[in-house]
Symmetry: C2
Subunit: 329 residues, 2 copies
């Protein structure tokens, strides 16, 4: 049996987050896919989080976190740093809760993510990814304005919110009478897979939970193998703009170390091919980072033949130009 003793987020925390989210979040479906079954020889279910409010799972954690801020502290607003999806999640959650949001974003974040963040009424402050420290900028704003800093992943309320993804997966599979062999989700800071693992393993202790990352940005895969938090060794970029965190979070890794089986990876070319396949066969818009778990499955890095596999497609906020390029390749 899985040992959950001492973990910072419990299945009960995720149940509570589900209650908080119920009136506002989209309960995304669990999709079967005959086309993916045929390609992989597995029974594949897709959790399409691009259908979530703001186009990614990030709304879940952000709304759960913002809802936990005491009324007296809400007038100072919130501040967050994010390459894009967390930015939109926080901005949309703040708008629903009538709070002011300031978002610190890298100047090279996809235009669609910047524009959509502004569209939710947030103030966007840009920084240079190579020269400036986004955490310092955000902390400075928080101090000056009395705003609450909303971290992207290393926070129990954020993790519990993302965990509702896993809770819905477990609930829908249980209703079908099916136990999953593998559940894989993209990982940057590790909040999504940590929350998902907590909820899924509470119901299906024998399921193997896998983090998925871009090839060189494999800090989770390395850390899980090493048994301690290790940074990745990538120096360049990846088309998975949402998955560029340099090292697993402390809180998320405490969970992931206990609940995950291992980490898998996929190259940018494999991710691009997965985005195109999702367009052609699933008729969904997935952003590169959101497709990395599927890319790893399609590349044969999950021993899926004859097994039941759940793949989280974590978001769909991709610029039209890049998407057009990937589907026409």
């Amino acid at each position: 049996m899985t040992d959950f003793t001492g973990l910072p987020v419990t299945a009960a925390d995720i149940d509570a987050a589900a209650t908080v989210l119920a009136p506002v979040a989209v309960r995304t479906p669990l999709l079967s896919s005959p086309a993916l079954d045929a390609v992989t020889g597995a029974r594949v279910f897709i959790k399409p989080e691009m259908l979530q409010r703001t186009g990614s799972f990030k709304f879940r954690g952000a709304f759960n976190k913002l809802s936990s801020i005491p009324q007296a502290a809400r007038t100072g607003g919130v501040v967050a740093f994010s390459s894009g999806n967390h930015a939109q999640g926080v901005a949309a959650a703040a708008q629903l809760l009538n709070m002011q949001a300031t978002i610190v974003m890298p100047a090279d974040a996809p235009l669609s993510k910047r524009e959509r963040t502004k569209g939710y009424g947030a103030e966007v402050v840009l920084y240079d990814r190579d020269r400036e420290d986004r955490e310092a900028i955000a902390r400075d704003i928080a101090t000056k304005r009395g705003a609450t800093l909303v971290p992207p992943y290393d926070d129990p309320k954020i993790i519990a919110g993302q965990g509702t993804v896993g809770r819905e997966i477990a609930e829908d599979l249980a209703a079908l009478g099916i136990a999953p062999d593998f559940v894989a989700a993209p990982a940057s800071g590790g909040g999504l897979i940590a929350g998902t693992a907590t909820a899924v393993k509470a119901r299906f202790p024998h399921a193997q939970l896998l983090s998925a990352e871009p090839e060189a940005f494999d800090d989770h895969a390395r850390s899980l193998a090493a048994g301690r938090r290790e940074p990745h060794s990538a120096s360049g970029r990846t088309i998975c703009d949402a998955l560029m965190a340099s090292i697993p979070g402390e809180i998320t890794f405490a969970i992931n170390q206990r609940l995950l089986s291992r980490g898998v990876t996929a190259s940018d070319a494999e991710v691009g091919a997965a985005v195109a396949l999702v367009f052609r066969e699933l008729k969904l818009v997935v952003e590169p980072g959101g497709a990395v778990a599927l890319a790893a499955l399609l590349a044969g890095r999950i021993e899926a033949r004859g097994k039941t596999v759940v793949i989280v497609l974590s978001g769909g906020n991709v610029d039209a130009d890049l998407f057009a390029e990937l589907i026409q390749a």
Copy 2:
């Protein structure tokens, strides 16, 4: 109350089709969309039939029809004429039922639809849309091979299969305790909206059912207004390649005349903008013809403010080049 007396398809026929389809069809979800609610001032639900097997609702009718062919007649196989989505539906249904399928397709059908039809193991016979009679070609093949002709819409089994779209909509809304004010779906021959109307009005007699068509290809709108089957007056093409039938079906119109409130239309430019909005906001891939009901809603042709509106997005089989062009416009 709605008078269903004498109609060629009943809610019970659709219940029976749902039982036939249950083991093989995807039960597509009913999606809420905060983004569309904000744009329209309505409460909008989307029925995303691009998530159906073969990428459109057409699989439902095809599988229901093929399942009704007596065992003795199955060895002759089936033949169908179709611009693309019915082709794939019939081909995939035949493959599942171990029957031979021959599909007569226009030479200018989107490449993706032709390739995918072949991918389901069907033989594709091309014809010239302007010079040849596809029905005659199909009938000739049927006679020579002893194959069963599978009509695209004017058949009670086909209509009952498509009606499972409406049955699922009604079931999901009932579970939410919500009654729809409007339900709109694209119409070419009229099978989808006829089946959908039958199922929805059986459960929600006050719902207004609407057919949606490309601006000049408005044979349903004209026919519903005139009270008799009228052809459209279009001479050219539309980007809605799936919606070019020249006149409503006889059986479908017998139903639609009784159950539909009216027909709405949208221009190609409005349809293109709807495809792009579905990409940006809903993260779904919809083909132009599949987006025409949404385009009509967005163009203000449904008095939706403050109302509950269900929009069927009927398919997502669009070539990458055209899709890229529409989302980058």
